[in-house]
């Protein structure tokens, strides 16, 4: 990690935390991309060692890899693990170990790539949900709950509305649109609750959204268990929505649970949100509230209303994620909702809370998901170990962004009172000197 930009960090500050965090707060976009790539490489290096060590500890009949010269055998081959992880997630486009760079039989519409893109699509919505709240200065941990509620609203609405329309593709399109709208309303409602609690009762949104996640999961569970459970079903799940009301996979195989239309909708959502944030007065209000609430208030922004609106919007996007999960992946609501909302938090952090950044971040998550499945098919490496490798990559990539966010949150870097502020404005230097002097005196 190059330190050239802040090499002349002027503060001789006594606080270790400040010294560690301040450089992260000032990174440019390009630097952050380079850092992310370096982090992936570094995490792979660490992962190599872990795979080797666990391969030495594990027992197996034939060694997958033997160290030259020593003859020491290892049960897992780290090169193979990572090749399968990344190459397998795409359906093996690269010809590894065979002549030529590309695999001539590769088609993008394969099962593994479909699984990767399916996960990517779902995480685009939950990542955007977290990101939009974050841009307004709100930490929405409740995307999971908003997704659960949105998903249930979608499933119930489509199941209830289906008999009213004649079967067929046109009814399918109508049902998908109505179902998605229901998901947005359901998720939006679930997001508006903590928003209103924050605005009008000063309740911390981190706490309320976490609590509402449990409420959503359990209320939905009981509702389906007692009222909407499909007859004869062995799991807690609703009936399937009619097949024509599910989002069609088209080019991809049905078992990959992926539809290009949904991915396109996700990308459109990214573009729409980017436009909303950067090119509309509402986006300006929302961003300003997020970076500097006092300035927003000065500029005539209604802080309470903006909080409620941002949380509602965030919840609505999470709810649409739930709709896509029902209409694209499962075809019904079922109690074992995957942790898409929680992964959305990490996706958003990876993306620096920028809608555009959500696309590559969600794709990285999708890759790791698809690759992990592929490792399970192709090798003897236990899924737990694959989980560790995924976790390593995410941890390494997310940490610099995470530090950056904490740094900015704590008012460090040039936006705050320290750092380069002292160069230009003496008033700010005064403040920096004030706090530092205080620490030194104490």
């Amino acid at each position: 990690m190059s330190d050239s930009d802040s090499g002349g960090e002027p503060d001789r500050t006594p606080s270790l935390a400040r010294r560690v965090l301040a450089p992260f707060a000032d990174r440019s976009v390009a630097e952050r991309l380079v850092i992310s790539l370096a982090a992936i490489v570094l995490s792979i290096a660490v992962g190599f060692v872990i795979v080797l060590v666990s391969g030495r500890v594990a027992e197996c009949s034939t060694a997958a890899w033997t160290m030259p010269a020593t003859g020491m055998g290892f049960c897992y081959d780290p090169v193979e693990v990572y090749v399968v992880l990344f190459n397998g997630a795409l359906g093996y486009p690269f010809a590894v170990g065979e002549p030529g760079l590309l695999n001539p039989n590769w088609s993008p519409f394969n099962l593994s790539f479909g699984l990767t893109l399916s996960e990517t699509t779902l995480l685009i919505f939950t990542g955007l949900s977290v990101a939009v709240a974050f841009r307004a200065g709100l930490f929405n941990i409740g995307t999971q709950g908003q997704l659960v509620v949105g998903a249930l609203a979608t499933a119930l609405t489509v199941i209830a509305a289906a008999p009213l329309l004649p079967d067929g593709p046109i009814a399918g399109v109508v049902l998908i649109l109505v179902g998605t709208a229901a998901g947005a309303v359901g998720g939006g409602f679930w997001g508006a609750i903590p928003g209103a609690l924050k605005a009008y009762a000063d309740a911390n949104e981190v706490i309320t959204t976490i609590m509402l996640n449990f409420v959503a999961a359990n209320v939905a569970y009981v509702l389906v268990l007692e009222v909407f459970r499909a007859e004869g079903s062995s799991v807690v799940a609703t009936r399937y929505v009619p097949e024509y009301a599910q989002i069609r996979p088209w080019l991809f195989s049905a078992s990959s649970d992926f539809a290009l239309v949904a991915l396109a909708a996700g990308v459109a959502c990214i573009a729409g949100l980017y436009y909303l944030l950067e090119h509309t007065p509402f986006g300006y209000d929302l961003r300003t509230s997020g970076v500097q609430a006092a300035a927003a208030e000065y500029g005539g922004v209604n802080a309470k209303l903006t909080t409620v609106r941002a949380m509602t919007l965030s919840g609505a996007i999470g709810g649409i994620g739930g709709s896509v999960w029902v209409l694209m992946s499962e075809g019904r609501w079922m109690a074992s909702v995957p942790d898409l909302g929680f992964d959305g938090i990490t996706v958003s952090i990876l993306a620096g809370n920028n809608p555009i950044g959500v696309l590559p971040a969600a794709f990285l998550f999708g890759l790791l998901k698809g690759g992990a499945l592929e490792i399970g098919f192709q090798t003897d490496v236990p899924t737990e170990l694959v989980g560790v490798l995924r976790g390593l990559i995410i941890l390494f990539v997310a940490m610099p962004e995470f530090f950056r966010m904490i740094g900015r949150y704590a008012g460090m870097g040039s936006g705050g009172t320290g750092g380069v502020a002292s160069t230009a404005s003496e008033a700010e230097a005064d403040e920096a000197a004030g706090t530092e002097g205080g620490e030194a005196d104490a």
Binding site: D5, S6, G8, P10, D11, R12, P14, H279, T280, P281, G283, Y284, D285, T288, V291, Q292, A294, A295, A296, E297, Y298, G299, G300, V301, N302, S414, G415, V420, A421, S422, T423, A424, S425, E426, A427, E428, A429, D430, E431, A433, G434, E436, G437, G438, A440, D441, A442
Partner: protein
């Protein structure tokens, strides 16, 4: 004898900026030395080098003939340097002596217990030796700002300081307290201590210091003896050219009532009443100045008028209509411009560029917002026009607010608010941190607005500013006006008394009432 402090060729570079450029400074033992300059001239940076907060890029710090190398303020303190910051570092609920010894407590029981008797005695002894009139057992929250400052000085002395650096020591004091501070200076220097104080006020440097060093743009312009220079000489050294000292407001008859405040009460953040039963009227084409020591309710008054804080009682009428309960947005749309006191918190979004900052407050209004989208081209044109008219440097609409110096940030805010075509301008410290040349320009613009028939509520801690620009001058103390006077005839001493909360005899109040054309509701002394 070696000088107490000698800075030899100090250069301090930050990325992209040279804050100090080969500055020499020699301070004789037992003298008071003023470091004078505009904000951004590099005074504080230089003192932070001396105090060990910054390592100089080039040059050395020499104390009493010994070259020093400080890694932290701790080293500087050990070498006998003490620094008193503008904002005091005191623990309010604790007593004076506890604050003084904090962090360096004498110990007993093998270091486990604070030796309270020894600590208290040491503080009492110090306080008496320098003739400081502070009670060691008083709680910080209960004593005046001037006394708190003396506690800060005691803290430095207790740590063995021989050289005391004071950053803008008079900024928070009433004129009377300033006089007392000068007395403290004398007592300290008589006993061999050396004082360096940072200031941007000419008069203060002239009356308190033995020697004055003027910094401009990071360069040492020169060191002069206070006895040999005039205000005009110093101003010229600071700015680099001759300056007009006094803005001039020509008399003009006030117009219709624009702002009418009756029985206003406002609480501060802690729920304590900060503005009590305040009444005044402000007319078109009139400047009402509000003077006073910071923290006497000025902030809360201004926030209540501009819609950032709700009043607990009373009435605010704007152009004849009650605006109590209307939102900030409605007041902006109603033609109220507001220059806030805190440009870093409120006036600017520090991470936004000037184009984005230029529409703060107008983000929902044409020409910037049209059909639900923001017109960034119009916004940019607007920012560039403000930058050009108000001489904001660097002239780059894409520069972030945080990259500008304090004075340029202020010019941009003032420009943005003045160009709103307001009916009422609420200006709080409009020229704080702005250099003399630009201050003149901003004052002229303010008077132009007045001539155009705008009403101006001007709150400032600069006495010459409120006195020179106002038609009427109200002095605020503990939430109400201790007097409304005629700025043309009132003396600095009278203002000082009013700032300390004393009411003047009837004579001077009547003078003001006459000038008000009977609109002196505030003068209820």
């Amino acid at each position: 004898m070696n000088p107490a402090v000698h800075l030899d060729g100090i250069t301090k570079r930050f990325p992209g900026v040279v804050a100090n450029d080969d500055v020499d400074l020699t301070v004789e033992r037992g003298s008071v030395h003023a470091l004078l300059g505009e904000n951004g001239a590099g005074k504080t940076t230089l003192m932070n080098v001396l105090y060990g907060l910054y390592e100089p890029t080039e040059g050395t710090v020499v104390l009493d003939g010994e070259p020093q190398s400080f890694d932290s303020p701790r080293d500087a303190i050990d070498a006998g340097i003490g620094m008193i910051h503008q904002h005091f570092m005191l623990v309010d609920p604790m007593t004076v002596w506890e604050n003084v010894v904090l962090g360096n407590e004498p110990r007993t029981w093998g270091g486990l217990r604070v030796d309270e008797t020894a600590a208290r005695d040491a503080v009492t002894e110090l306080s008496e030796r320098y003739g400081f009139d502070v009670d060691p057992d008083a709680t910080i929250a209960d004593i005046s700002v001037g006394e708190q400052q003396r506690v800060e000085i005691l803290k430095a002395l207790y740590r063995g300081a021989d050289v005391l650096i004071m950053d803008e020591p008079t900024a928070v004091l009433t004129p009377q307290e300033v006089e007392e501070l000068y007395g403290v200076f004398e007592e300290l220097t008589d006993q061999g201590k050396t004082i360096i104080f940072i200031s941007h006020k000419l008069g203060e440097a002239l009356s308190a210091a033995d020697d004055i060093t003027v910094l401009r743009d990071g360069l040492n312009v020169g060191t002069v003896s206070a006895a040999d220079v005039t205000r005009e000489d110093l101003a010229e050294m600071m700015v680099g050219r001759e300056v007009l000292m006094e803005p001039a407001a020509s008399p003009q008859p006030p117009g219709d009532s624009v702002l009418e405040v009756t029985g206003l009460c406002v609480d501060d953040d802690r729920g304590v009443e900060a503005v009590s039963d305040l009444s005044f009227e402000l007319r078109a084409g009139e400047v009402l100045g509000v003077a006073g020591v910071d923290g006497n309710g000025q902030s809360q008054l201004v926030e209540a008028v501009t819609g950032l804080r709700s009043a607990t009682a009373g009435e605010i009428r704007y152009r004849g209509e009650s605006i109590r309960g209307t939102t900030r947005r409605e007041r902006i749309d109603g033609g109220m411009a507001f220059i806030p006191e805190d440009r870093h918190e409120r006036g600017l979004v520090m991470s936004y560029d000037l184009t984005e900052n230029g529409i703060l407050g107008s983000q929902h209004d044409p020409p910037f917002a049209r059909g639900g989208r923001l017109d960034w081209r119009a916004s940019r044109d607007h920012a560039e026009s403000v930058i050009e008219q108000y001489d904001v440097r660097p002239p780059d609409a894409e520069a972030t607010a945080e990259s500008l110096s304090g004075g340029n940030q202020q010019k941009f805010i003032v420009g943005r608010e003045f160009e709103r075509d307001p009916d009422l301008v609420v200006a709080m410290h409009p020229t704080r941190g702005v250099d003399i040349g630009s201050t003149e320009f901003l004052h002229d613009r303010l008077l132009d607005l007045r001539a155009e028939g705008k009403a101006v509520l001007l709150v400032s801690s600069k006495l010459d500013e409120v006195q020179g620009l106002s038609d009427r001058l109200a002095v605020m103390h503990e939430g109400s006006f201790s007097g409304v006077v005629d700025p043309a005839t009132v003396t600095e001493e009278e203002i000082g008394l009013l700032m300390a909360g004393e009411r003047l005899d009837d004579g001077s109040v009547e003078r003001a009432a006459v000038h008000d054309d009977g609109a002196g509701e505030g003068a209820d002394a």
